[in-house]
Symmetry: C2
Subunit: 216 residues, 2 copies
DNA sequence: GTAATGTTTTACCAACCGGTCAAATTATCA
DNA sequence: TGATAATTTGACCGGTTGGTAAAACATTAC
């Protein structure tokens, strides 16, 4: 049979699993650095080490590839926020959330850039996810933070903007890596920059949210 | 004469000024939302309301258009940081820097996205500017902040990461606007979000940098 | 082994892309 | 006004793009 991939209902073969993996890995590389429109199937095929038609045998369109990639990555991308625990102590929860996000920026910069590209260009492919699952999750965690503030455990602040601030500062080290390296110069652009960033951000957010006269 | 634009040494015509303006405006719109590789000359021509060859009469290549756009925008983009004043009081300088950056994110989101796209995709066209003029300016201002910290006027912190944090948090509202709107929902996605953001960020950075036991 | 199924390749297509050219049109100014 | 220079356009070009068709090749199940 030569039924196109999407029409197959049977369970996938070993080769299918391997090749789809290989393709999505290559697609991540390419989409992350050029965005959807700036990427070409030929490029992805070359990175994956296979011919274009072969690639199109597994994913019938460029869109399907992108879709599959987003679906696979989005879920794990939100894990750090899911771990955010209402029962924990506010300071240590926020501190470790920052640390987890920073680790993801360091260890999975391509995933970060994939989303950055997508959102920057108007999120044409993931708008539903933003307004759906993502919003729901953020709403939930924002409520936790709001409760902490109300209970006097941290300074009063807008929980949504707090979350945005944590996202932006941490993802900055993945998305704007070239700029960070360029500005820091060769001497300070090594892996140590993530430690420095972690130290700074923890200080900023922890003491920035401490209760003091006038803010509580 | 039909000399290409770049070869003309005489002073520019009224029509030239107007059309180049029109083109760069359209180019900003398109490049900002699709990145360099994702944008097409036809698209820009359509937005500018002129034919493709007409557009290429003013800028001989797509690169030349992008170059001209970057050159024009980069300078004004750095103005808020230039205004950062060593003689002012640390708290008010940082506070007003945040405010200026946030105003730019609100009033010139396309400019912000133009750079974001460029840097995200590896800064292939502006790497020199990053390592040159930008780095120089940041180095200078970082020294100012370091001096403030040394003099005990603000908490000790890494000035570079402080600057990165201000950049990322403020530009987030331009670059990731769809996401911000999506998460905030229709009710809170109005212009008021910039006021809320300003309030939050000023609180975060000001009290985050205040001197207290153990940090000074 | 062989038949059925799954995979890969070669050759190809129509649309689009960045860019050119020459002719037509319009603005400028003596 | 007319000559000259500046601007605009339509037709076109070679290369690239996303995607297809069909046949060759490999794998698996019996």
């Amino acid at each position: 049979m030569v039924l196109p991939r999407a029409a197959r209902t049977q369970r996938r073969t070993r080769i299918q699993e391997e090749k789809e993996e290989l393709i999505l890995e290559a697609a991540l590389e390419v989409f992350a650095t050029h965005g959807f429109r700036g990427s070409t199937i030929d490029q992805i095929a070359e990175v994956a080490g296979m011919s274009k038609p072969n690639l199109l045998y597994y994913f019938r369109t460029k869109e399907a590839m992108h879709r599959a990639l987003i679906d696979r990555v989005l879920d794990s991308w939100l894990d750090p926020l899911r771990e955010f625990d209402a029962e924990g102590s506010p300071v240590s929860e926020i501190r470790s959330y920052i640390r987890r996000k920073l680790e993801m920026a360091r260890d999975f910069p391509r995933e970060s850039r994939l989303f950055a590209n997508e959102i920057l260009q108007g999120a044409p492919h993931i708008e539903d996810e933003l307004k759906g699952p993502l919003k729901t999750l953020v709403d939930e965690k924002a409520e936790v933070i709001r409760a902490w503030a109300k209970a006097g455990k941290i300074a009063k602040c807008d929980p949504y903007h707090l979350i945005f601030a944590i996202w932006s500062t941490t993802q900055h080290y993945a998305d704007f890596d070239v700029q960070v390296r360029g500005v820091l110069g060769d001497e300070r652009a090594g892996e140590g920059r993530f430690e420095d960033a972690a130290r700074f951000l923890e200080q900023l957010f922890v003491s920035g949210l401490e209760i003091r006269d006038g803010t509580a």
